[in-house]
């Protein structure tokens, strides 16, 4: 069946999956029928989009921090704050065990995972500032890519399959050639990092990376000009780079008031860029940009979200959106003890095309 024309101005929520705790990463499976999400509990949660049934996998011992599907096959990779990676068959029944695991892929948090376009290589990166290349079939370590001097937040594989990029806390984006694993240069995203004399920690970093479908553009999300290392409030920003030249082309901003990083970024097939913001205790937005223009061409208001993924059909986006449990904010809340509960998530699917009207029933 022919896909409907892409029309971001008609974007709307078409499905929701509620979850009673916070989830901060969510991805569509390559078959497009499943979504997988992870967050502040130890489970990997999966939903069938069509019948809305849910299942989960358990093996992690702490928060699960990153997730990606293999583009070829039925592998789902997840990683956690203790440096563990598990490989799952995402089609398996609930409660299934991992196919294989890597017990120490990083000293601490594995903050990013990616898989090469041919499905052969799994990449991980995190607190150690090292990109590790693994055999995606069995988890065997193939190569360590060193060069970053701080923790790595994000990874992305170029559509031609011949390059990998990694972005770190200091705003350094490094290019790595596949499969020679040579470092092929550095892109300057230092504006996404803030260090001030009165800070006691560095703030920001390259929180998200995405290539345009034609591979000509690389977008890096985060926030700039942080005002403190406590609230970590800053100005959400996306830097768009010309990939062939390695130079910055434009800087994109949200329209709505927001104060956190842009963790979710993805390009649509027409090179429109979509990104989602964070905002403390307030709404922010899902924005769509012409990558050459700073202001969004279209936005949808919503609570904070921490990831954004494009469906294989190119017509749907997925975002894990924060939902207040009703008892958020400062204490003292002793009198609300019985009602006090964790904040929640709604996994929201946005259709990016005009809604087709159902034909009137024949009378």
């Amino acid at each position: 069946m022919k896909a409907p024309p892409l029309d971001i101005r008609k974007a709307r929520v078409s499905a929701e999956f509620k979850h009673p705790s916070q989830l901060f990463r969510a991805k569509f499976s390559p078959c497009g029928k499943t979504i997988a999400a992870i967050g502040v509990d130890t489970a990997v949660h999966l939903w069938n989009i069509e019948d809305k049934t849910e299942k989960s996998f358990q093996a992690h011992k702490t928060w699960v921090s990153s997730i990606c599907f293999s583009p070829a096959g039925n592998e789902l990779y997840t990683a956690d704050y203790h440096g563990v990676i598990h490989c799952w068959n995402y089609l398996a029944r609930t409660g299934s065990k991992p196919r294989w695991s890597i017990p120490a892929a990083d000293r601490n948090n594995v903050r990013a995972l990616a898989v090469s376009g041919n499905g052969k290589f799994l990449f991980s990166a995190g607190d150690e500032g090292v990109v590790r290349t693994w055999d995606a079939a069995n988890g065997k370590l193939l190569k360590e890519l060193k060069g970053h001097t701080e923790c790595i937040f994000s990874l992305a594989v170029h559509p031609d399959g011949e390059a990998l990029v990694s972005g770190d806390l200091l705003g350094s984006i490094r290019r790595w050639e596949i499969p020679s694993w040579e470092e092929a240069g550095e892109l300057d995203a230092r504006v996404l990092h803030t260090r001030k004399d009165n800070f006691i920690a560095d703030v920001g970093g390259v929180r998200s990376l995405a290539f345009s479908p034609d591979g000509k553009l690389l977008a890096a999300g985060g926030f700039r000009d942080a005002k403190s290392n406590a609230f970590c409030p800053g100005t959400p920003a996306v830097l768009v780079f010309d990939w062939s030249k390695g130079t910055s082309r434009s800087e994109l901003r949200l329209k709505a008031k927001s104060d956190g990083p842009i963790n979710g970024l993805c390009f649509l097939e027409d090179s429109t860029l979509a990104g989602y913001g964070e905002h403390l205790h307030s709404a922010t937005e899902l924005s769509f940009w012409d990558p050459a223009k700073q202001a969004p061409v279209h936005s949808l208001s919503g609570q904070s979200a921490y990831d954004l993924d494009l469906h294989p059909d190119g017509r749907r986006l997925l975002a894990p959106v924060y939902v207040s449990g009703g008892t958020s904010g400062n204490g003292a809340r002793k009198r609300h003890r019985e009602k006090y509960s964790p904040n929640e998530t709604v996994l929201r699917i946005y259709d990016l095309f005009a809604e087709t009207k159902k034909p009137e029933p024949v009378k």
Binding site: F24, D80, F199, I200
Partner: protein
């Protein structure tokens, strides 16, 4: 704030600026004083009680430090690690402190009332006493008043803090400026503690006499508080000129500098050790920006180790030097952080159930005080107010907190909240 108690106090900002300038300039003229042997402090010889308060301004998360509660719905992502106390776990971000947990006590059930910084910080540092219409002193000023200087040649209350220094008399509340804090901005000693070579000792004495005379004249037309502040500043400067070696960083070993850490809090806690050894009665070490409403987990990963290393090093060093019996070390904030994680992956303010640590000076070793709900969110059983902590601190310092009274304008005032009491479980 002191002006509320003394309408005659001059609030002219010009005078305030003059005070600072005068402290700097005239302080430099006061000359060398007595030739005390700096290697053996009077306080140590006399086993005087001393205090080091490590204040993490904004609120350290109890889940990412003292009370990780792994496997529960509000736990963070970091590992829970065993400590030297069997069955007791801290966050992995406290790995150095975990190794000395058998030398400290942790209270996990602080239950206070104020969820705001602006009111909460003074309320906590004043011990939140019953309101009697007066401005109570901060803890350092209270100890300065109640015990006096441990060494008469040194200021009783030194505050090491980021940013600017100076003499902070407002911390003394109704006790008067004399009991304010000498603040070392960024740990720097007060300016001009060396008498300029071009000024002779005779000229220096003459200038000081002139200053004192001018102050007397100034005092005749104004309230005493500001003059007290000026004079206390000068007296402190004079005393410190005689003991300037206590600020000499060259006496600190490279190994110690590495053990405490090169970040400001590490350097300042090492400096606090130096000042405790010298005999300063009360030292407050401040670190700001712990208010992690945003990015709590990335920030905690970087902030908590900044207190973990130097706190553990300080307790070890005091113990090795035989000082831990008489020096009380406290690590705390104005509250903890929420069990819930907010929309910016931060934790908000949580006075309902939070943790702090104490060591030395009659504090039990290896004790974990207080029962919380399984998820760590609430106190189950006995919660402790800040007034209870003040009674405890005064008691281990040898002050009868239930009977001792301040005298202010003929009024006898309790030194800690009348309805609170010492936390017996935390004391030997």
């Amino acid at each position: 704030m002191a002006a509320q108690n003394n309408p005659q106090t001059c609030l002219d900002p010009v005078h305030e600026m003059s005070r600072r300038r005068v402290l700097g300039v005239l302080g430099g003229l006061a000359g060398f004083g007595s030739l005390l042997n700096p290697s053996v402090s009077r306080a140590l010889e006399k086993k005087e009680k001393q205090v080091c308060l490590i204040w993490l301004d904004g609120g350290i998360s109890q889940y990412e430090s003292w009370h990780p509660r792994p496997g529960t719905r509000f736990a963070g992502p970091f590992r829970s690690i065993p400590t030297r106390v069997p069955g007791v776990h801290f966050s992995e971000l406290m790995q150095h402190t975990a190794r000395i947990a058998d030398k400290i006590s942790v209270i996990r059930t602080m239950e206070t009332k104020d969820p705001n910084h602006s009111t909460g910080v003074p309320r906590i540092q004043r011990g939140d006493p019953i309101d009697r219409g007066v401005l109570y002193p901060y803890l350092g000023s209270a100890v300065s008043k109640l015990l006096g200087p441990a060494d008469p040649a040194l200021p009783p209350y030194i505050w090491i803090k980021p940013g600017n220094g100076g003499f902070i008399h407002r911390e003394a509340g109704f006790l008067g400026a004399r009991h304010g804090a000498l603040a070392l901005g960024d740990g720097r000693p007060p300016v001009h503690i060396h008498r300029p070579s071009g000024i002779s000792a005779e000229n220096d004495t003459a200038r000081n006499a002139l200053r004192k005379k001018a102050n007397e004249r100034f005092r005749a037309n104004r309230g005493a508080a500001e003059i007290d502040a000026y004079e206390t500043s000068y007296e402190m400067a004079e005393r410190l000129m005689a003991r300037k070696e206590i600020f000499d960083e060259s006496t600190l070993s490279q190994k110690d500098k590495e053990r405490y850490g090169s970040h400001p809090l590490g350097r300042h806690i090492l400096q606090a050790r130096q000042l405790l050894e010298a005999g300063v009665r009360f030292i407050k070490v401040n670190s700001y920006h712990w208010d992690t409403h945003g990015d709590n987990f990335n920030m905690s990963q970087r902030l908590v180790p900044q207190v973990d290393r130097p706190f553990a090093a300080l307790v070890e060093d005091l113990d090795e030097r035989g000082m831990l019996d008489n020096v009380l070390v406290v690590v705390m904030s104005e509250f903890g952080r929420t069990p819930n994680v907010n929309s910016r992956m931060g934790r908000d303010h949580w006075p309902d159930c939070w943790s702090l640590a104490l060591a030395g000076c009659g504090i039990r070793q290896g004790a974990i005080i207080g029962e919380t709900a399984k998820d760590g969110a609430w106190v189950d059983g006995t919660g402790y107010d800040i007034g209870d902590l003040f009674h405890t601190i005064f008691t281990v310092l040898g002050i009868d907190s239930k009977r001792a009274r301040y005298e202010h304008k003929g009024q006898k005032l309790a030194i800690a909240h009348d309805k609170c009491k010492s936390i017996r479980e935390v004391m030997l």
